[in-house]
Structures are given as C-alpha cells and as structure tokens.
C-alpha cells in the first residue's frame, strides 16, 4: 500500500552512469557507459581505444624481424604466447620448418605463459569480487614463473624469446630442473586456491548464473578460448590445428555446461592443471639438437654464424674523413650517444669521449666517410687522422662488412613469397590470429592482428544486460581482457 502510493509520488527514470576509463576493476583503460534502472543494467556501451598504438600500421612499415617485439606489447601478461603466435604465422608464410627441440621449448614456455596468465586472471578476478587472499597467493606463484623466464632470456615481462625459426637460445639445465620442481609443487598450490573459493558461499553467489551465454550464441559472438569452452563448445586450436609440439603431447580440454561465470572459472582452473601436465611431458620428451632452423635466408642465425669475424671493440675508434664527408647530418641524427657534432654541409666530427663504438654511424653513412681506426680511446684528432690514412687491417674491413650485411638484412627483411594467409594460435585468452598479405618484399603489405580481447570486450553488453551493477565487475573479469591487446 505504502509502496503503491510512493510510486505515485516518485517517478522512476533511467540513470546514466560512467564507469572508467580509470576504474580499478576495468583491468586497464576500458570505459563503460551504463544505463541503469535502479540497480539493473539496461544498456552497456563500451568505449575502447585509449591504448591504441597502431601496431598494425607500424607492422607494415617494419620488416618481419623488427615487428616481433611489438607483439610483446599487445598482451603484456602473456607475452610469450603472443611471440609464439607471431612466429608460427611468419614461419608458415616463409615456408620454413622449426627444429624439434625448439618446438618443445616453445610449447613449454607457451604453457608457462598460460599458467602465468590464468594466475593473474584469477588474482584480479577474485580481488574484484572481494577475495583478497587469492590475489596474494596467485602472485606468489606468478613471481616464480617470471623468475623462470628470467633464467632463459633475462626479461620478465616483454620477453621476445621465441624468434622466427626457433628460439633465441637453448635453455640451461638448471632451468629445466627448477621448472620440474615448480610442476611438482604447483598442483598442490591450485588446491590451495580452490579451498579458498571453490565452495565459498559468497563466490558461488557472485558467479553462478551470472553472464550466462549459450553455446550457439557464444560462437556467433566470436568468443574463443576458455571463455567459449565454458559454454560447452570443444574448440581448442591446439587440437584443431596443432602447431609446435601440441600433437606430440597428451592433454584434455575442460568443457563447461551452463556457460556462466562459475563454469568459465572452473575451466581455467582445470586448464592450469593440464598446462602443468603438458610442461612435464615436454620436459620428459625434450629431444636434443639445434634450436634455430638452418635457413640463413629467412632467419637470424646465431651471432658467430652471421658475423664470423667480430671486431675487437675496445681497441678501435671511429673517425670521419674530412674529404669524404658531405655534411648530410645522417650520422648526426642516428647517433644514440649524440657524440657527433658539426654544421650542415660541413664535415662533422666525433667526440671520442662520448662515442660508444656502436657502429650506427658507420652503417648509416652513405658516402663511406666513416673509418674504423685501430687504436684505443682518448687519441687526439691529429693522431687519428694519421692512423686513418694508413691502410686498414683486413680483419677490420671484413668485420665491418659482416656488420653492414647483418644490419641490412634485419632492416630490409628476407625475400618472402607472394601470397596471403591467416594463422591462428591458442593464446591464454583465446584465438590470436595473424593475417598477412605479402607482396614479395621483406615487409608485410598488410599485417592484421585478430585479438581475442577485442572480440570479448565487444560481448560485454550481451553478458551484462539484465544483471546488477556489481555483476558488471564479474563479467569484465570472466572474459579475461587486457586492454593493450584490445586496442593494439
């Protein structure tokens, strides 16, 4: 009675609420405009693009070798998988085969990055919903994996360890031993997280029946990865289009039934166990052999192969010959140490105290005015000129030749057959696809990245409508997006 009277007096109207782009639960810079009726969501409009760096456009201006580090910066919480995705696509375009050992190593690091990603996902997802403890536990294990990364490539976040044609270097024996220790320990750690939230009443209330999407609809929306498998579609690229060593290991794919937030959570938890299994199998089966394909026309070979004679950097200096220098300013702009000075159209000079002997100016100079002079640092210009006039030892000329050759190869890229192809790989978040159009040069004519986060962010309106405002947080967590990948 009172309520009815109250309805007569107060009219209700929809409210427009802005969430983000700087909201702790949006996992980056995602902005959502919510139309709410009381507590219920009527409409969600996501705005993305705050992290757009134009990686596709940049990729078209760089050679295939140079574009590889860009892929780290997409999904920065699982950079290894992105690198592998790029390398697998480019290798198929080049038509080269990767050595067996490299394939297994890649599978290992790929699955490590899957575990690292799912740990970060679980940590933040649980934190958003209100379970603080899980966050701390997950980061303890993630830290362990990052330390293991450090052992093989020295980097923790943006690794660029997989390369076109294989991997950067072989893994040390200690790495395999400590990784084996990790895989021994890890299943019990997963149990720890599960005892915290698996049957937790608050967790169940916040996840069961939230963001339900049917199998057919999920496929139609373009969902992939665990987000799709939670709805019960057995689509896993590791099984459907096997790459690397996934056809040589045995693993099962967890499938949900209802397609709600809880099922997707369970799928990812089981997936971590499977990844753990895959790593163990790979370590057991790891074959000996090289880790880089023997294709000098298409891949970057180890340094001692590309540059058989390396110059002894300590005992030499760079010197500009006054007669040959036209004063174009190319070296002046290229020098990373800003050691070259001089006016336009007048011979430049090198400040020997600042010079790093990196050879950038040597490679940039078109007039061959740059000379390599044997001798230590700290010589006067007159002395250097005197030394430069003398004939240069053959060893140094050869070393310089190799240097220029390698520089040109990386900058121009290999000669690639003309054609186009789309290659997809299973990254932790879903299907990462690379679509290349090659026009025969060393740079892709078109490089397209199909980022799973972008598609999943597009599904947000479908998942949120009809639920409460608090469930938007759960929905953002459950689709597992990283905005760096979404905006590219």
């Amino acid at each position: 009675m009172i309520q009815k009277e109250a309805e007569k007096i107060f009219e209700t109207k929809e409210l427009n609420v802005n969430m983000g782009p700087q909201h702790p639960a949006t996992h980056g810079v995602l902005r959502l405009v919510l139309d709410i009726d009381g507590e219920t969501i009527v409409k969600v409009t996501p705005y993305v693009g705050y992290l757009h760096r134009g990686i596709e456009k940049l990729g078209e201006s760089l050679s295939y070798f140079q574009a590889l580090p860009l892929t780290d910066r997409m999904d920065y919480v699982s950079a290894m998988s992105n690198n592998i995705g790029y390398c697998v696509a480019v290798e198929k375009l080049f038509g080269i085969e990767v050595p067996e050992r490299a394939k297994f190593i890649r599978t290992i690091v790929g699955e490590m990055s899957r575990i690292a990603n799912h740990l970060l996902w679980l940590a933040t997802h649980a934190l958003d919903i209100g379970a603080m403890t899980v966050f701390l536990y997950c980061f303890r294990e993630r830290e362990w994996i990052l330390d293991l990364y450090e052992m093989i490539c020295g980097a923790r976040l943006t690794v660029t360890y997989p390369r076109i044609g294989g991997v950067r270097n072989d893994v040390p024996q200690e790495f395999l031993e400590s990784l084996w220790k990790f895989t021994d320990e890890f299943p019990s750690r997963i149990l720890e997280y599960e005892t915290l939230i698996d049957q937790n009443r608050i967790w169940l209330q916040r996840t069961v029946g939230i963001g339900v999407i049917s199998a057919e609809e999920a496929v139609s929306w373009g969902m992939t990865g665990p987000t799709l498998r939670g709805s019960g579609v057995p689509y896993d690229i590791r099984k459907h289009m096997p790459y690397d060593a996934y056809d040589k290991v045995e693993f099962e794919v967890p499938i949900g039934t209802t397609g709600d937030t809880y099922d997707r959570y369970r799928c990812r938890m089981l997936e971590m166990r499977q990844s753990n299994n895959i790593i163990r199998q790979c370590i057991e089966k790891l074959p000996p052999g090289p880790v880089m394909a023997d294709e000098p026309k298409f891949t970057l070979q180890p340094k001692d192969k590309m540059m058989p004679i390396t110059h002894p950097t300590k005992e030499m200096a760079y010197f500009i010959e006054e007669k040959a220098c036209k004063g174009c300013g190319m070296c002046l702009r290229a020098c990373p140490a800003k050691a070259i000075f001089g006016e336009k159209k007048k011979p430049h000079k090198i400040d020997q105290a600042l010079c790093l002997q990196c050879a950038t100016c040597f490679v940039t100079c078109k007039f061959k005015a740059m000379k390599i002079v044997p001798g230590g640092k700290g010589l006067s210009d007159e002395k250097l000129a005197e030394l430069a006039a003398a004939p240069v030892p053959e060893e140094i000329t050869k070393a310089a030749e190799h240097l220029v050759k390698q520089f040109e190869f990386i900058k121009k890229g290999p000669k690639v057959p003309e054609g186009e192809l789309y290659v997809a790989t299973e990254v932790p978040k879903g299907e990462l696809g690379f679509y290349f159009v090659s026009d025969g040069s060393g740079k892709p004519y078109r490089m397209r990245l199909r980022a799973p986060s972008f598609i999943h962010a597009g599904c947000l309106p479908r998942l949120c409508v009809g639920h409460l405002v608090a469930d938007v947080i759960a929905a953002i967590g459950t689709i597992d997006i990283v905005l760096g990948e979404c905006d590219r």
Binding site: V48, G49, H52, G54, K57, L58, S61, L93, V208, E216, E217, V219, S220, W221, G222, M223, V233, P234, Y235, D236, K239, H240, M241, D247, E252, V253, P254, I255, G256, T257, T258, D260, D263, R266, C267, L270, Q274, P417, G419, E420, L421, Y422, A424, E431, G433, Y435, V437, D439, Y445, R446, R448, R450, F454, I455, A457, G458, C459, R462, D487, R488
Partner: protein, 193 residues
Amino acid sequence: MAVTEVRISIHPAGLNPKDIAEKIKEQFPDQVIDVAEFRDQVSVIAKRDQIVPLLKYLHDDPILSMDHLQDLTAVDYLKKKDVRFEVVYNLYSTKYRHHIRIRAQVPENDPKINSVVPIWAGANWHERECFDMFGIEFTGHPDLRRILMPEDWEGYPLRKDYPLQGPALENDWPGFTEVLKRSKELREFEWEG
C-alpha cells in the same frame, strides 16, 4: 555448473577448401571472380552485391556450417589492383574443422558493403574497426561509429595514402591541441623541482 574434461581428437579438416570453393561457384556462378590458393589456404574473390546471401549460405548449409567468423578485415590495394579495397572474411567451422576465406571487392569511389551482423553477432566490432581504419561503410550495421580512434578524428589511418607519422602539426587532432593548450595554461601551477 559441471565442468568435465573431454578428449578432443586431432583429426584433419572436414572438407577440402577447394571443394568448398567449388560449391560456392556452383551456388553463385556469377558472383565468384577468382579462386586463389597459397599454403593450403583457399580464398574466393567475390563481388560485393550478393555477399550477404553468399555468407549466409556458408553459415546455414548443413554440410559447410561455417559458424565461426574468425576475422573480418580489409586490405587497401592502392595502385596495385584495379579495385582498391577488399573486405576479407576468414571463416571456420568448429564442427567440421574446415576453413575458407572470402574476399569481397569494394571500389574506391563507393566504399560500401552490406553488413553481416545479422549472421554473426561478433561481426559488430570488426565492422566498426574496419570503418574506423579504412572508411568502408557497412550498410545495415546497427551502430556504425569509430571505435579505436577518437570520434572526431579525420582520415582513415590504415589506408596506404595515410602517413605513418600521422597528420601534420597544423591540422592535428583538435583534442590533442586542446590538451597542449591546457597544459601551457596550467604550467604556472607546476611544482618546481
């Protein structure tokens, strides 16, 4: 709420992509311009007028059942081909595991093509991005706005005639010049360090 682990077998693709291309040719004989093959992937180059019925046939046909739109994008062939743009659809069947690529030609003077959102709901953002980056209009799209670039941005960045470093300083995006102006105004409040 029951999650089970299933064993998915590794078996080869259902239909040969060449056979799929043949099927499309049979169904739409006047629409297919050419069929290209590279590294076991087949792409069908088609006209744009009947693109929606063509894709709907691929989606609905029980033998093909291309239910997963892997990717939708465009390529700008400036001065390389007679028809400047091509909208590329990468399709996959999660049931039968086969893949086909459809490339629809879109001319420069009338960059329009029908939207496929009624067939795949996920095409929504793909088409918005395509419009944002290439300026191709998707007729029948429910909400065609810029998505990655600011809404008042001029030009289409992924076109080949768009400079890599962006617009020149004098006609930069107004939002950016505004921020610069504001930062100059507020400089006097900066901390001396």
